[in-house]
Every structure is written in structure tokens, then in C-alpha cells.
């Protein structure tokens, strides 16, 4: 008992980095519960080849199911296969990453195996043998500590809220035969990629967000420059005012009706800090606010603030960070 299963996420035949964090969280609770951490990797033929590396993040057993039908990870198909895999072993917890895919799959799997689901968990620990699970509610205005009257329970974990641990260990890979459900009534017919090379805001470790204070879409190059100075793991975000004005796509919106993010570093530039915006970003590790109004509510949650005009501050900030990074 006490075994924990982390459901790996893949895209284009590769295991995605969010999985490392998930496996790490699985390993740390499994130890506390006296069990072991397993990872489940599903995908097209070949997905299992490098899957042993998940051992280095804490998975003792890496269960691999390969089938051409699992390539795109269609949720209807995947959910059925995951539910079968879960049923073949006694797990205490099933963990998904709280990404778009994970949040779509987790409830389907929970319904198939008749297990309760807690979404977007920000804290998962074992304290004196007891599981502690916390998740924000009411747009982050309260934290609920929850318990389960059933096992297994299903959780989705907020990305970037747990961190990763690396070691030299290799996981033991176990392959199993996948049974693909016969009736599938949904099909992906097209995928329109967002601007190439951009990291999605919900997975980025650094986010540069702009608000109405940026005055118009034509000034986004200033934010884009800062983003590229910060490196490949940085993404652009936006307030709802910006998205509603059509300056930026909805996929970049942070907040109650947008993405919930917890990056290591969040820049709020020309964003006032309305509760609905805070709902999406207040669990970020370090928050920097740039706003010309010293009374803007964003300063109440910011670790560091500059009171000033974004149009002056941004180019200087970009230059300083570029200089710093080129020093190495």
C-alpha cells in the first residue's frame, strides 16, 4: 500500500518536462506513505525508449504502454487506457499535472475508476503519516485542506509548485499490452500552433505580463524584448483588459478566467492587480511590479516594485538583464 502513480505527459513523442516535477512529488509522498512511486508513460511506438530516465526523478517503476493510437494522446482513448492501468495495481494516489491535458484527463479517469478528484493542488505532503493536500479555492482567496474517504484518490498538481529532484537512478521499465477502446466518438481534425517557439504561459518558469498600462498592441515589442532577454523558459502573459481589447490572444490571459500560473518569476507591467488577476498569479515565487501608480494594488503582492513609466523602465531593464546574462 501507499504506492503513488504519476501519469507522464508527452507531446510529439517526447516526455514533457512537467512530468519530472510530477514524478518527484510522487516519490516524496510515496516515501512518506511507505510505498513506492510509479510512472505511467503512454504514447506512440518508441515513447518508452527514454522513459527509464524518469527513475532519475524518483520513479522506481516506469510502466510503458505503446500503441500508435496513443500518439496524439486523444483524451477519450487515453483515459480508458489509464483507468485499466490504474486498476491493475493498488494505488493510494494517482497524480496528473494540472496542465490543459492533465485537467482534461483527470476527471475522466476519476469517473471511470469511481475515485474522488482534487484539482490544482499546491501542497502535497505527508505529515506524521497523514496525507496533507491543499488547494486554492475562491480564486486563491482561501486555501482548502482536503482529505479523502476513499482510495485511490486522484490529484492534479499545479505546475511549478513542487520543484524537481534529480539523481543518477534508473527506473525499472515494465512494458504492458495496451487495449485500445473500440468506440471513440471524438477526433482531432486540426491543430493550429500558436506563434512558434513560444513557451506556454502555464508552464513557463518566467512570465512577463502586460496590462492596459502598455497602451496598445504596438508596444508589445518592449515586453517581447524583455522576455527574450530572460531566456528560452520565459513566456508572455496578459491581463484580461489586454485580451478583451484584442491586443493579445486569449491563451496568454492570466487570472480567474485565464490561466493559473506559479512561475519562479512573474513581471506585472502596467497591470493594476485586480483580484481576478491576482487569482491567477499570486502563488508565483517572486513577483515584480512596474506601475506608475504607487497605490496600485499589485504592489501589495509584489516582492519588488518600481513606481514608474513602463516605457522608460522596460528598455533599461532589458538592457541590464541582457548584460548580466552575457557575463554568464
Amino acid at each position: 500500500m501507499g504506492d503513488v502513480l504519476a501519469i507522464a505527459e508527452q507531446r510529439d513523442g517526447k516526455i514533457r518536462p512537467v512530468t519530472h516535477e510530477l514524478v518527484g512529488a510522487a516519490a516524496s509522498v510515496a516515501h512518506g506513505l511507505g510505498g513506492s512511486a510509479h510512472a505511467l508513460v503512454l504514447g506512440g511506438v518508441g515513447i518508452g525508449d527514454g522513459a527509464g530516465e524518469l527513475g532519475g526523478y524518483g520513479a522506481e517503476v516506469v510502466r510503458v504502454g505503446e500503441d500508435a493510437a496513443l500518439e496524439g494522446c486523444a483524451p477519450e482513448t487515453c483515459a480508458g487506457v489509464i483507468a485499466e492501468a490504474v486498476a491493475s495495481h493498488s494505488y493510494e494516489l494517482i497524480l496528473f499535472a494540472a496542465t490543459a491535458l492533465g485537467k482534461d484527463l483527470a476527471p475522466r479517469v476519476a469517473a471511470l475508476i469511481d475515485a474522488p478528484l482534487a484539482s490544482d493542488v499546491t501542497r502535497l505532503e505527508v505529515e506524521s503519516g497523514k496525507l496533507v493536500v491543499e488547494r486554492p479555492v475562491y480564486g486563491g482567496k482561501a486555501i482548502a485542506r482536503v482529505g479523502f474517504a476513499a482510495a485511490p484518490a486522484v490529484l492534479s498538481l499545479r505546475t511549478n509548485a513542487f520543484g524537481t529532484n534529480e539523481s543518477q537512478a534508473e527506473g525499472r521499465t515494465e512494458r504492458f499490452a495496451v487495449v485500445i477502446p473500440e468506440t471513440v466518438r471524438s477526433r482531432t481534425v486540426e491543430f493550429r500552433a500558436a506563434e512558434s517557439g513560444s513557451v506556454d504561459v502555464s508552464e513557463a518558469s518566467v512570465i512577463v505580463s502586460g496590462g492596459r498600462g502598455m497602451k496598445g498592441a504596438e508596444h508589445w515589442n518592449l515586453l517581447e524584448d524583455l522576455r527574450s532577454a530572460l531566456g528560452a523558459q520565459a513566456a508572455l502573459g496578459a491581463s484580461r483588459a489586454v485580451v478583451d481589447a484584442g491586443w493579445r490572444p486569449h491563451g496568454e490571459q492570466v487570472g480567474q478566467t485565464g490561466k493559473t500560473v506559479a512561475p519562479a518569476l512573474y513581471f506585472a507591467v502596467g497591470i493594476s492587480g485586480a483580484v481576478q488577476h491576482l487569482a491567477g498569479m499570486r502563488t508565483s515565487q517572486t513577483i515584480v511590479a512596474i506601475n506608475k501608480d504607487p497605490d496600485a494594488p499589485i504592489f501589495a503582492v509584489a516582492d519588488y516594485g518600481i513606481v514608474g513609466d513602463a516605457f522608460g523602465v522596460l528598455p533599461k531593464l532589458t538592457a541590464e538583464i541582457t548584460a548580466l546574462r552575457s557575463e554568464g
Binding site: P107, A118, K141, A149, S186, Q256, Q276, G305, K316
Partner: protein
């Protein structure tokens, strides 16, 4: 085509959330309740689809007696009929989903719409759970969709872009922010809503298996500091980010 919208009554997002020490639920005194923001998108999507193609829109809520007010608001915006499944809701989305699926099983509607997540518990689960319990396909995080014959074609907002998914009807769709900003109810709509059917049935919810043990206020963020004013503060900010926060 007839459509069902499942919707939930939740505290206004502007509300200050209060609760006493050790409480497992918020203090409802003085809290204004609204139709959950994403459910507004679902309602608007249903109204536009039925206007274009004909058919009725029925709104369904599992909730307390006060939820009638939310259902009336939906009727005022243009829904044709409402059903209140009277019962006390918990954070256990699967318990809610079982009740909703039980109701939907008795009905003919080919399309069931949900908000992607409810504005109180933010669980993001009830829609796909209901679909799974009913054995119907589901597309979540949908920004717009179109019904063509026996198929519904949905645009989904996913990481890295937009995915277009086609599903055979009957199907379930959960809506995120996109093309469907809810219209205002007209005075005529508000008057008409009083005469529209609102069925009330008692719902049988088992005890939830996801239990809230207690609520806490989020940890106060450590007192932030204003590094300075204008461009001159930038070097100090960069130093702090590097040496103190160690994030760059």
C-alpha cells in the same frame, strides 16, 4: 436542437471571502451570489445555437433553494426552462456529476454544455465526469463550436495552440472564455422569466468522499518593497533579483 446548460451559483468574484477559525465553509452572510462566470459563456453559447438552429435551452442546477434566483436570471437572459435539483453541494465533483448524470439520463437533449470550471471550488472536473458517466464524448476548454448535422465541431484552447475536435452527438462541451459574452437580460426577458417553467426536484447526494477539513487564508506574501522610482531603480532591481531572490 435542444440543449442543456449545467450551471452553478457561486459567490461574486469581487466578494471578500470570510470564514471563522477551523471552518470548512465560508461565511455566507452579506455575500452576493452570481451565475458562475464560465457558465455564462455556456449559457450564451446555448442561446446562440438555439437561435440559429431552433430548439429549446434548459438550464439545470444542483444547489440550495436560493439557486432558483440564479435559474430565473438564466431564464430572463433567454433560456426556456429550468430544473433545480435541490441538495447540498460539496467539493466532491464526482458526487455532483453523478446527480447531474442521473438527471440527464432521463432526457433527450443531444448537447450538454458546462462551464470549464466553477468560480468557487475551481475544480474543473464536473463536465468531463458527467460525459464519462454517460459514455458520451467531451471536449473541454472550448472557445467556440458549431453543430453540423450529427457532429459538433469545437475549437479548444490548449497549450501551444488551438485544437479542432469533432464529436458525434450526443456530446458534452465545457466552455472557456472565447466568443460567448453573455447578453444582458431585457426588461421583457425578466418579465417573461416569471412565467417560464422551473421544476424543483430533491436530489439524492451521497456523502462526499472529498472532504474539506478546513479553510485557511492564503499565506500573506512577505511585505514587498518599492525598490525605487523610474529608470534609476532598475540596476538595484536587477541586483535584488540576482542576489536576493536568485531568480535570474
Amino acid at each position: 436542437m435542444d440543449i442543456i446548460v449545467c450551471m452553478k451559483r457561486v459567490p461574486d468574484t469581487e466578494t471578500r471571502v470570510r470564514f471563522s477559525d477551523g471552518a470548512t465553509a465560508i461565511d455566507r452572510d452579506g455575500v452576493k451570489f452570481i451565475l458562475s462566470p464560465y457558465d455564462e459563456f455556456a449559457l450564451e453559447a446555448a442561446l446562440r445555437t438555439s437561435e440559429a438552429a431552433g430548439g429549446e435551452v434548459t438550464v439545470v442546477t444542483l444547489g440550495d433553494e436560493d439557486s432558483q434566483e440564479t435559474l430565473r436570471a438564466a431564464l430572463a437572459a433567454g433560456a426556456d426552462a429550468a430544473v433545480l435539483l435541490r441538495g447540498s453541494v460539496t467539493m466532491d465533483g464526482l458526487a455532483t456529476a453523478k446527480v447531474l448524470a442521473g438527471e440527464l439520463k432521463t432526457r433527450e437533449e443531444q448537447l450538454v454544455l458546462f462551464g470549464v470550471k466553477a468560480g468557487d471550488d475551481d475544480q474543473q472536473q464536473v463536465g468531463p465526469m458527467v460525459a464519462t458517466l454517460l459514455g458520451r464524448p467531451c471536449a473541454s476548454d472550448v472557445t467556440s463550436f458549431e453543430v453540423r448535422g450529427d457532429v459538433v465541431r469545437c475549437d479548444r484552447a490548449v497549450e501551444g495552440g488551438t485544437e479542432v475536435v469533432e464529436m458525434d452527438l450526443p456530446a458534452v462541451v465545457t466552455l472557456t472564455k472565447g466568443d460567448f459574452e453573455l447578453r444582458y437580460a431585457s426588461l421583457k426577458g425578466i418579465m417573461a422569466a416569471k412565467r417560464k417553467p422551473l421544476d424543483v426536484k430533491d436530489a439524492d447526494l451521497g456523502p462526499g468522499r472529498l472532504v474539506v477539513e478546513r479553510l485557511e487564508y492564503p499565506p500573506e506574501r512577505a511585505e514587498g518593497r518599492i525598490v525605487g522610482e523610474g529608470v534609476g531603480a532598475v540596476p538595484e532591481l536587477v541586483r535584488l533579483l540576482r542576489d536576493e531572490a536568485k531568480v535570474i
